[in-house]
Amino acid sequence: MSADGATVFSMATELSRIRNYCIIAHIDHGKSTLADRMLQMTHSVEDRDFRDQLLDSMDLERERGITIKSHPVTMQYQALDGMVYEFNLIDTPGHVDFSYEVSRSMAACEGAVLLVDASQGVEAQTVANAYLAAENNLEIIPVINKIDLPVAKVEEVSHQIEEVLGIDMGQGALVSARTGAGIRELMERIVRQVPPPKTEPAPCPARALVFDSVYDAFRGVVVYVRVVDGHVRAGDRVRMLGTGTVAEIKEVGFFTPKFKPAQALGPGQVGYIVSTIKEPREVRIGDTISGASGPVPQQLPGFKNIHPMVFSGIYPVDTVDYEKLKASLGKLSLNDSAFSFTPESSVALGFGFRCGFLGLLHLEIIQERLRREYDVDIISTYPAVVYHVALEGGEIVNVDNPTHLPDQSRIEFIEEPMIKAFIICMNENIGDIMRLVMDRRGEVEKTDTLDVRRVMLTCRMPLNEILVDFNDYLKSVSHGYASMDYEHSGYAQSDLVKLDILLNGECVDAFSCLIHRSKAESRGRQMCAALKEVIPAHMFAVPIQAAIGKTVIARETIKALRKDVTAKCYGGDITRKRKLLERQKEGKKRMKQVGKVSVPQEAFISVLKSGS
């Protein structure tokens, strides 16, 4: 990397002709289709290479219609003013779990296309992402998509965008990404409305923002950057200002959307860097890349070490899979710097890992990928958030595993993470949804009317309360129509207790959870009842107890097995009978032993699902 002198490289586009933007939208509002259409219009992809939804490359992303990784692409757009513009579209993760990544991707842009489905209107995710874009000072171009649908309600949706989001539709476009209608108009708006990148006047030290990275077994860590000042070239020695890592650049290039090597990346440009860095942990999203020698420039704003918000223990169903699980988690973390895992052990589940996630979706994705891509059978424990536990004497400890909660007598108070949730629902469901929110210890702070049929509730709730099945309940009370998104919203003190489950008098650590005192009893009863259903009868009665400290608050008993005997057993039966018994023994071995009690795998799953 070099300070910019008089030489201007021919491949570096003039700043005035660069437009960096992202598209933000709710799931299924047509983000990928719009991106495809832009690629086609700019001839960025040969028609023979074209397949729908080009930018979502993971199977899971395609299936769920969500974007997990950034998929940048550089396009050359021939505008009506006769000039060719370099468009850098940075397709960002759409979910709030990845809001830090989203915000870093946004920091690489000057504009955002806010896409709303003309038949669906503004949804919760639209709201959350529009707020994020506004916080990042992006020029927002509102776009109403699917205007060709017979059920399109363009005027109504325009009104929502103006009223709910406060964005002037006079600056917007009406398109159909499917038919291509309105796309050119949108492209022209991007040229006119998205400001060109700004840069320090030369000469100045080079700076580039890291907005994502992927791990490649052959090339090491491929870093996605937006150059802010100066140039980066192969051969430059660079330093990561946040982590201090020094490396040599081996290759730079653009996304077309495939990697296309180039001589250099200039100010305002978006591209990738392959360097001598092999270790994903050495690259942090939001970090600044600068020259390794010369004056150290100011770090670009916004870099922070992100901390997981949701934790869960992940254990192999079969203990022999421990190493396989460990290797799989290691591979997953290569491409996901936000995912963390450390070894832990549980009395009930044996050896496994405490895993940290950005949120629920992140957790689900990792679990799903472990099962699907890595073929490991796993049991995961009840998800937990990070509690701030204030001890006598003012010490505060972070607790992400209920089993590690300090002794109750030493605890002054506990704080739990809160969220601000945006729930959009039909008018007729508002009562049910408010009840659901209150049942989850939330309060509705604000109610906005979106249109004649829909309202948006802004609520403050404990994160803990939406971890397991909130979304299922939301969908069920609203017949699938309600949508929800959230942002983190600090911590609040709360009357939390540790609920333990005892089997035959022994505490099963994997079942312990922190829960609000008001809910402990009903939750305890549900867990005991659920366990009674799945734990087989033993030769002795098995008491199942839910307890807070030493106080038992719920109890069930699995009655002792009374009769288990083969009536007829003559000589010819002995081998067959022994084999039958051996099969039973094998089945029993697959269960987890808690003291003298055999607990089947399903118990761990069914208890997690036995929510309120």
Partner: protein, 381 residues
Amino acid sequence: MNSSTSLRPGAPPEPAGIYVHVPFCDGKCVYCAFYSVMLDPALADRWLAALELEMRRCALPEPVETGTIYVGGGTPTILGSKRIERLCSGLRRRFPLRRNGEWSVEANPGTLTRETLETLAAAGVNRLSLGAQSFDDRVLLRLGRRHTAADIFRAFDLAREAGFRNIGLDLIACVPGVGPRTWQRTLDSAVALRPEHVSVYALTFEEGSRLCARSPGARLRAKPDREQLNDLRRAEKALSQAGFRRYEISNYARPGFECRHNTACWRGEDYLGFGPAAASCSGLLRWANAPDLASYLAALEGGGDPPREFDELTPRIRAAERLIFGLRMLEGVQLEAVGGFERKLEPLREQRLVEIKDGRWRMSRRGLDLADAIAVELLGD
């Protein structure tokens, strides 16, 4: 001795008990999962010839004495007296019974004739196991039996007249829909006949039986455990009051009339089985003939061994087996015979499922009701 050895190395030093499986019936009872086909005279004759070939292929010296013979099935008594005579003389030639040896034959009340009984007695058969099952005609019908209570009385009297001094009755307990009074009447009737031996088997839903094959709607549901235990307790009470001693989970006998053949099997002694589906045990080696008459006939008529499945036990599994099946008997297992299993037995003793008495491990009363669950604990490393 035949050079084509059917018996692998480790042939029993002691003559083993002999079992013959007669694979013919005149119908199928609903609970039965044993191998049998409808009686066909031509097939029965070929089976007899093949059986003789199979016995001759056995690696033991010919003849060799045995302590017990058990002819089961199927329904041995439907073979008719001619074939029974041939079967018995073949057995006698090959495996002559020792002095005071036990020779049992299973019999069905519906097909037992005076002639058959006299043939059996003349051949040296000295124990009859009569498949009574119930003394209630409606219950017999429901079980798919093809005889009545009157047939049992008749067959029993005929057997006594033919000279049988050791007769066992089989009864089926825990039949759904049979209340305590009906069950008590069956027990009383059985006791009134004054047999030497009574087996009381709780109805089992065996895979492969018609009970299990019934369409879900028509399926009988097993009685709840509590009711089953009540039925079995009632049987134990009635039989012990009548002078029978329970010596195995499902078996009761007047002192000295315990079935020696079965007792030897439960103690883990060797036995040799002949006929389709028959199983054998010799040291660590087990084998069972395929349950298929056609391939059995074809193989033996072609000069070979019938298709068999072999299974070689490790000494540890063999020891576990002896323990598991030994504990099913009330006499239990000698302390010194359970080396290596104390670690597993002790926790069971703490739960009062097994106990040590007179230098032997035994199941407690409650343990006898939970023998399978205990066996699962004892198996494995």
